[in-house]
Amino acid sequence: MKTLRALLRNPQGAAGLVLCTLVLFAALFGPAIAPNDPETFHFGARFAGPSAEFPLGTDWYGRDLLSRVLVGARSTVLLALLATFIGTVAGALIGVVSGYLGGVMDEILMRLTDAVMAIPSLLFALMILAALGSSALNAVLAIGIAFAPGMARIARSVTLQVRSLDYVAAAKARGESLPWIVGAEILPNTIAPVIVEGTIRVAFAIMTLATLSFLGLGAQPPSPEWGLMIAEARDHLFRSPWPVAVPGAAIALVAIGFNLLGDGLRDVLNPKTGDHA
């Protein structure tokens, strides 16, 4: 609660929070508030611009873009959030443990993450999907695993700084257990950059999911998944910009929202700038 109130006082945080709440609202209640059916063709109104009937215009089949975007929010945003969450948690844990333990364990873990990072994340996701079979949930898992090494790197570099600080030495000198040192002394001090990076990655996750959909390994037409919408609308770009612009703007809005939220959280989570008094 305290964090939330502090976040609302922070201009970036407040803007991010508002945008993200809107997006989450769309994700949860999109189908209920959509003015039209997202899959009904209106052949009389193909490539229509914004109007009272179609607030954001229509696509090449005359489907209402606003409704499609609202309905598509659920699959797009929630899946992206889930993928980022998996990648962030796994990566942060690997990074903090690796950074704290150091030595041989650090070498082994970091060389493994290097090996994963050496493969382009899309290719890596394809590999996992090939192994697990293509489904939306497997795509989420694949993106999560592909994100983990980058997160691990960030978490590790912060951990290396924190590890050398005296409060960790003080905890060691008191004879604290490893879970306490990692969980209570180090992790809270490394979490801010990890969260900031995580919120930025949500946008990447949306794009990667869209790419997978485009390749036929994620969502399938006529699903209103945003990435898929853009991929499909490419062919009609010169006849009307709306089918590309609307889902594109939705993705941009989500990305901006999460970035602002990330910046706000970074300030609020820092005990020196945040207000705990």
Binding site: D166, Y167, A170, A173, R174, G175, N189, P271, H276
Partner: protein, 684 residues
């Protein structure tokens, strides 16, 4: 004659998110040609901001700035940036605290000098090079031609600061600003650097503003001293008389909390009444110091805004002094009594700590990697209620020894706790031996409230306490270190430096330990806070009987906290003695140099100069002779370089590791000559 630097009614306010903040105001001062003005103040007194203002490089967003800053008659406070760029380095030079970050690591030392000379002089390439060599020679660097091609990481810290000094003197400026130039250096290095500066200053006749928190350093170097408090100068005058008879209550309090070499002889304790931070925002009281002033008289002090006025040989910003009153300096409290006993709590036998690892390549070739022996065969005993001080400069192994005693670093040798062999990383040792770290900013987790910080050791070492008993104990611990009990819900960043260190002390006390290892715990603190912490430690010792291992590089404070001293040099304890034995010979030659380098603020005292030449041996070398042989001013011959020195005991309980005979050690003349007349202000 026009003063080189002249500030008139200078004031500076910065804009922050929470409104304007007063940084400096009412600043008027002059520095004459060839004069060194020392500017002293505690942390947060805006002394560095004054230097920033003079060099016209303000780091904050300026809300309001007025008054004039004149450099030899030219007002520079309104100059545009290009004119300032031509001015800086040529007419005003600056020497910063940290030479390691002042020099660019990817440029050679020569590049630094040639660039400055190229920018501000008409010399051609050969001329510049000749001048660079001349400058390096002038600052006493050996082999200046070779130095030109070295990179900053290839020379020592003292040598780097010499190069910075050469840079400052390079274009023969009118004024040099020194911002804590020796604070980051070891005492013996700082002393040689100050000697060098004094010599260069006398030769070139440059004027200087010398900023430092260390009054001892300023006393050595400055002709006049200005004391700054809360962004205003409270007292300014000739160094000699200000140190002998401070008149402003703030200066008096500052001096009373400073340790002096004569303290042991005169049985003078340190005053702990520090000044509260001056107000920075909103309406200013007529006198900034009134909230902390023991002589505050509302009808006099609050009548009108207090400004500096001429009183005798100096300027003082105090309404009562301006009326002609002489305010008595605070009486020095009685020194603290040590509760030492004779039962041994911990004992270390042949303790050695080494660093270094075998790389894979070394392992394959079957050879050992380079090993640094940080601590070497150290033996000592610590008695209940006693304070053993470990003194030495950076790299002498004192912190490694502390880490070994805290169980944070492996070592060889034996440690005994209450007579039983106990390893420092065992639970039994950890419950009895606690550590306080140097920097409370990093030793307190910023994410934990004080309650969490103090609850952890209670949970670990006193598991029988119930939840309610634990929170009562947390409150008691905070009160034990003179902090309000309701601080428990605060976070470390809401506390001042001194308060944070008190929390760290409370955390160590939570375990009710027998021994507390204090690793440089007063180093970053202002004098009054340091004196208060030292008094607190003594109090705690008296009530709990805890023994302290007090690690420091500052010899001044030792007389107020320690019972015995161990002087360390390159990992060895070269001298161990009672604290009182430091006041007179015999000394190990290193101790002698160290004592001579710690600046005395004793008015009218004379310090015999012992300065160290030569360089430290490589840390990875296995020395066959005395570790101090390469820098020893009392080097007697080849045995110093080839034979391990014998352990001499010129008197009982006094060990010196040296080739010099007892007789020779005893004959060393005293370091300080005190004026005996000046005891009036220091009698308890």
């Amino acid at each position: 004659m026009t003063p080189v630097l002249s500030l008139r009614d200078y004031a500076l306010h910065y804009d922050t998110f929470t409104g304007p903040v007063r940084i400096l105001d009412d600043i008027s001062l002059d520095i004459g040609r060839g004069e060194v003005l020392g500017l002293v103040g505690e942390s947060g007194s805006a002394k560095s901001s004054l230097a920033n203002a003079v060099i016209r490089d303000l780091p904050g967003r300026v809300h309001d700035e007025h008054g004039t800053i004149k450099l030899t008659g030219d007002d520079i406070s309104t100059l545009p940036e290009p004119a300032l760029a031509a001015l800086r380095g040529r007419r005003i030079a600056m020497v910063f605290q940290n030479a390691a970050t002042t020099l660019d690591p990817v440029q050679t030392l020569g590049d630094h000098l040639l660039e400055t000379l190229g920018r501000h002089t008409q010399l051609d390439a050969t001329g510049r090079r000749a001048r660079a060599i001349e400058l390096l020679d002038m600052v006493g660097l050996p082999d200046p031609t070779a130095m030109l091609d070295r990179y900053p990481h290839e020379v020592s810290g003292g040598e780097k600061q010499r190069v910075v000094l050469a840079l400052a003197f390079g274009c023969e400026p009118e004024l040099i600003l020194f911002d804590e130039p020796t604070s980051a250096l070891d005492a013996t290095t700082a002393a040689t650097l100050l000697d060098l500066f004094r010599d260069l200053q006398a030769r070139t006749g440059v004027s200087a503003l010398f900023i430092s928190h260390d009054l001892g350093t300023v006393a050595e170097i400055a002709h006049r001293v200005a004391v700054i408090y809360g962004g205003r100068i409270v007292e300014e005058g000739p160094t000699q008389t200000i140190f002998a008879a401070p008149q402003h209550p703030y200066t008096q309090a500052l001096m009373a909390s400073l340790p002096r070499p004569s303290d042991g002889k005169l049985a003078r304790g340190l005053a702990t009444s520090g000044a509260r931070p001056a107000p920075r925002r909103g309406e200013m009281p007529p006198c900034l110091f009134s909230a902390s002033c023991p002589h505050h008289l509302p009808e006099v002090c609050d009548a009108q805004r207090v400004r500096p006025v001429d009183v005798g040989d100096r300027q003082i910003a105090c309404a009562r002094v301006a009326r002609g009153e002489t305010l008595p300096a605070p009486a020095a409290p009685a020194p603290l009594v040590s509760p030492r006993t004779t039962d041994v709590v911990i004992e270390a036998r042949d303790l050695s700590v080494s660093y270094g690892n075998r790389s894979l390549a070394d392992m394959l070739r079957g050879r050992d990697g380079a090993v640094v022996r940080a601590v070497r065969d150290v033996n000592f005993r610590l008695h209940r209620g006693e304070t053993l001080a470990l003194v030495g400069e950076s790299g002498c192994g004192k912190s490694s020894l502390a880490r070994a005693l805290s169980g944070l670093r492996g070592f060889t040798g034996e440690t005994l706790l209450n007579g039983l062999p106990t390893a420092p990383d065992s639970a039994a040792w950890r419950a009895r031996v606690q550590t306080i770290f140097q920097n409370p900013d990093s030793s307190l987790n910023p994410r934990h409230s004080l309650a969490t910080i103090l609850a952890r050791p209670l949970r670990l070492f006193r598991p029988d306490l119930s939840r309610a008993a634990r929170s009562a104990e947390i409150e008691r611990l905070l009160e034990r270190v003179h902090l309000p009990g309701d601080y428990a819900s605060r976070y470390p960043h809401q506390l001042s430096g001194g308060e944070k260190q008190r929390v760290a002390i409370a955390r160590a006390l939570a375990a009710e330990p027998d021994v507390i290892v204090c690793d440089e715990i007063t180093s970053g603190l202002d004098a009054a806070v340091q004196a208060a912490i030292v008094r607190l430690l003594r109090d705690i010792q008296t009530s709990t009987g805890a023994a302290l291992v007090f690690i420091t590089h500052d010899l001044g404070i030792l007389r107020h906290v320690a019972d015995r001293v161990a002087v360390m040099y390159l990992g060895e304890m070269v001298e161990t003695c009672e604290i009182a034995a430091l006041d007179a010979a015999p000394w190990h030659p290193y101790t002698e140099a160290l004592l001579s380098s710690s600046h005395s603020v004793d008015p009218g005292s004379d310090t015999r100069r012992v300065r160290l030449q030569g360089s430290l041996p490589k840390r990875t070398e296995d020395l066959t002779g005395c570790p101090f042989a390469s820098r020893c001013p009392r080097h007697i011959g080849p045995e110093c370089d080839s034979l391990r020195p014998p352990l001499r005991a010129p008197e009982p309980g006094h060990d010196i590791l040296c080739h010099l005979s007892d007789a020779a050690l005893n004959e060393v003349p005293p370091i300080w000559q005190f004026k005996t007349s000046d005891t009036t202000r220091t009698t308890p």
